[in-house]
Amino acid sequence: MGRHHHRLVPERLVPALGVTLLALLPLAFLTVFFVLPVGGMLVRGFYPDGAWDLSGVGEVLGRDRTARVLGFTIGMATLGTALTLTLGLPLAFVLYRLVFPGRALLRAIVVMPFVLPTVVVGVMFRALLSSGGPLGFLGWDRSWTAILLAFVFFNLAVVVRTVGGMWEGLDRRAEESAAALGASPTHVFRTVTLPALLPSIVSAGTLVFLFCSTAFGVVLTLGGLRYGTIESEIYLLTTEFLDLQGAAVLSVIQLLAVVVMLTLAARARARSEATTDRAAARSVARRPRAGDAPLLVVAGLVVAFVLTPVLTLVLRSLRGGSGWTLEHYRSLGDAGASPAMRVSILDAVQNSLSTAVDATMIAMVLGVCVSIVVSRRPRAAWASRLVSVLDGAFMLPLGISAVTVGFGFLITLDRPPLDLRTSAVLVPIAQALVALPLVVRTITPVLRSVDPRIRQAASALGAPPMRAAWTAEGPVLGRPLLAATGFAFAVSLGEFGATSFLARPDRPTVPVMIYDLISRPGVENMGMALAASVVLSLLTVTVMGVVERLRVGSVGAF
């Protein structure tokens, strides 16, 4: 008799109700810690003294400097994207369509830069290109070329992961049909493979463009404030010139651009999910042939390009005034080693770790909620539109200026009921915001890939909606959850943009300390920054090594 209770609530509303409740928590979080700060920042700019003031918009847009900054940002992002795609596609082919010994290691090496802290990437390229570095003779130190190389270094993983994952899963029989009909390998690639890969290339390309155009840590460490990108300009206007209106205008431009790009990426992603016939279990990878030689060479060079800055960093951290030494590492525990520091770097490591643990927990709880919600496929058109809007909303933190968020935190969360300015929770919250989209992008594809008929079968056997969903989707979640946790942890450890605003001087994280060290002159400061970068890289790379062993394809793919 008890079974009839269900009928009091129409059955179809039960899942809708559950999903709505799940959506509320992350939505509330996004509102308080994203919309509010960003909104607060914009209000300061456009509504300064209790009245709308848009007069500055034209003035800001008309400035020569603004045009230069926008031009530089777009130019660099375009170049960065083109170069990353050009180098990433051959690498994706080699790492995902060929089998050879050491492939797993190479895949891990290529994904590593994406989680390296931006500041560390900056330090690496400084170490490589500065006058004493192995490539110092090129004279690229503190030039836009260095920034461009760092963009490619940092974003290769996005292209390789996104396109490679797609490439690996393509049904090879379409290509074989074309070949049998008489198409040469290049013709097959151009007329069959490329069109099938295009959605993933667009998706990856858009994301790379987004990351290049909003990069902050890399630009700041490599170019100083000499090269204004839109992000560093927002930073400059906010902190140096207190020109909040100018900053607000640029933030809005950035926000619009980000929304456009995320929409494009989401469209491409939806298309690639819809049009792929996942090959039924057969492996498409094959052994390298003689004809693959040019691609293998390109891939080898790209891997060398990834390894060079890393190795340089490690080697230079071991060099002192008089040859090989561990002195930089020894001074990591010494709080008085440099006037740039108030605590020792080991203390900062401890701060970083505990902050990252908190951030990871927040990101995971919210990320799982969001993933469950956005992986539903409601039948009603309005509901499925709502789901895709939500999906997009939680991607926003990926592209919005970390500076805007960080500064927004400071100016909006500074009075009751939310007076968090001096609280230690702000840093993990900001980091969680950055990690959240990555968690969602790791877990959602896995949930979406579960055949809905398994859930229907469970329902038909009498499982209530939540139980049926758990039966179908629970078993596949284990490894993606672990992988997402590691990914979120690694990203939180390295987060620099927002943290640099929010970390209290007596509780800095390692990336913040590294930036402090390299912004001061002195060989010792640089040496310690190098050693600290090595320590931080080791931490993140170890975490990502474990994640990589979990073999979850969606990590770092978009």
Binding site: A174, S177, A179, L181, G182, T191
Partner: protein, 329 residues
């Protein structure tokens, strides 16, 4: 003439294709019939140049194909799910091989129209391939393959993904298209009917080896051994006296006392029959009743009864043997 000599393909330690030799004269259709996992698809892919050979030779009209890449072999491949190019419409899919050969625009569109006519899909030229049904997709895929004017058309279970009535209709169409265009074709399939309808010659493949081949009708009625017979649908195997008794009743001379293989259709429940049996079980199938019988002096056998027969376990019935469903091994 396509000729395979001692063809072998290995995946590590697994021998997928084991010294297969076959000959396919121009204009004929050969079916390689085998259960899933027997290596028949690998054989097809090897012929297409998509798998490396561990040994042996493939030649076409006396020319060795070793080292000739897939796209220069002049074959076409038709998979069970068509593998149409989703970003192209129907006409562009069919025009694909024509473009490759540099056929000019007007000639191409004329040929596309002809081919669509041939496969029974006029007016489909501008359709998006994702809107087609499974059967329509296969027809378009066939048209695309024919457009290449392949020296040999390779078909990998071309009809297996379709439902039964559609499969039967399309099989008939496919047969007349292949003979009408005098296309030399090699088909691999696990489906007896598909092989039977389409092929002039049939080769049975088990565990990587061709165990029997010859004209379709002959292979069908004269399996060489029990494994082939079992795969071809013979369900009852008799030796010794029972074999002789049944063969004699059917008027089948069996001087060498060979084992006897029976299809269900070899024994029919019939009041006029000369053998006697007890019913153990009876199940209705689509156009008959399948009966498990205990044949007097022989033992358990499978038989067929008329669709309206009412058989209950324990009933005594008479059975008429029919030599059309029997084979001596």
């Amino acid at each position: 003439m396509l000729r395979l000599d001692q063809l072998s393909v290995r995946f590590g330690d697994l021998v997928a294709v084991d010294e297969v030799s076959l000959a396919l004269p121009a204009g004929e259709v050969l079916a390689v019939l085998g259960p899933s996992g027997c290596g028949k698809s690998t054989l097809l892919r090897a012929i297409a140049g998509l798998e490396d050979l561990a040994g042996g030779q493939i030649s076409l009209d006396g020319k060795d194909l070793a080292g000739v890449p897939t796209h220069r072999r002049g074959f076409a491949l038709l998979f069970q799910d068509g593998q149409l190019f989703r970003h192209l419409d129907v006409a562009a899919n069919i025009a694909y091989p024509l473009r490759l050969r540099g056929v000019d625009r007007s000639e191409t569109s004329a040929q596309v129209v002809d081919l669509l006519e041939t496969v029974g899909l006029p007016d489909y030229a501008n359709r998006d391939v994702t809107t087609l049904s499974g059967g329509e997709q296969q027809r378009v895929a066939l048209a695309r393959s024919l457009a290449a004017e392949p020296r040999v058309l390779l078909l990998d279970e071309p009809l297996s993904a379709l439902d039964r009535s559609l499969r039967e209709r399309l099989a008939g169409d496919l047969r007349s298209i292949l003979t009408g265009t005098r296309t030399t074709a090699l088909l691999v399939t696990h489906d007896h009917d598909e092989a039977f309808t389409l092929a002039d010659r049939m080769a049975v493949m088990l565990e990587g080896q061709i165990v029997q081949h010859g004209p379709t009708q002959r292979v069908w009625t004269e399996p060489v051994d029990r494994r082939v017979a079992e795969f071809l649908g013979f369900s009852t195997f008799l030796v010794g006296n029972p074999a002789e008794q049944v063969a004699a009743a059917a008027g089948l001379p069996n001087r060498s006392r060979a084992p006897l293989a029976l299809r269900r259709s070899a024994l029919r429940v019939d009041p006029e029959g000369e053998l006697k049996a007890t019913v153990r079980r009876a199940v209705a199938i689509s156009d008959a009743v399948r009966a498990d019988l205990e044949l007097d002096g022989v033992g358990p056998v499978e038989a067929l009864a008329a669709q309206d027969a009412v058989l209950t376990p324990g009933d005594r019935v008479r059975v008429r043997p029919d030599r059309a469903g029997m084979a001596l091994l």
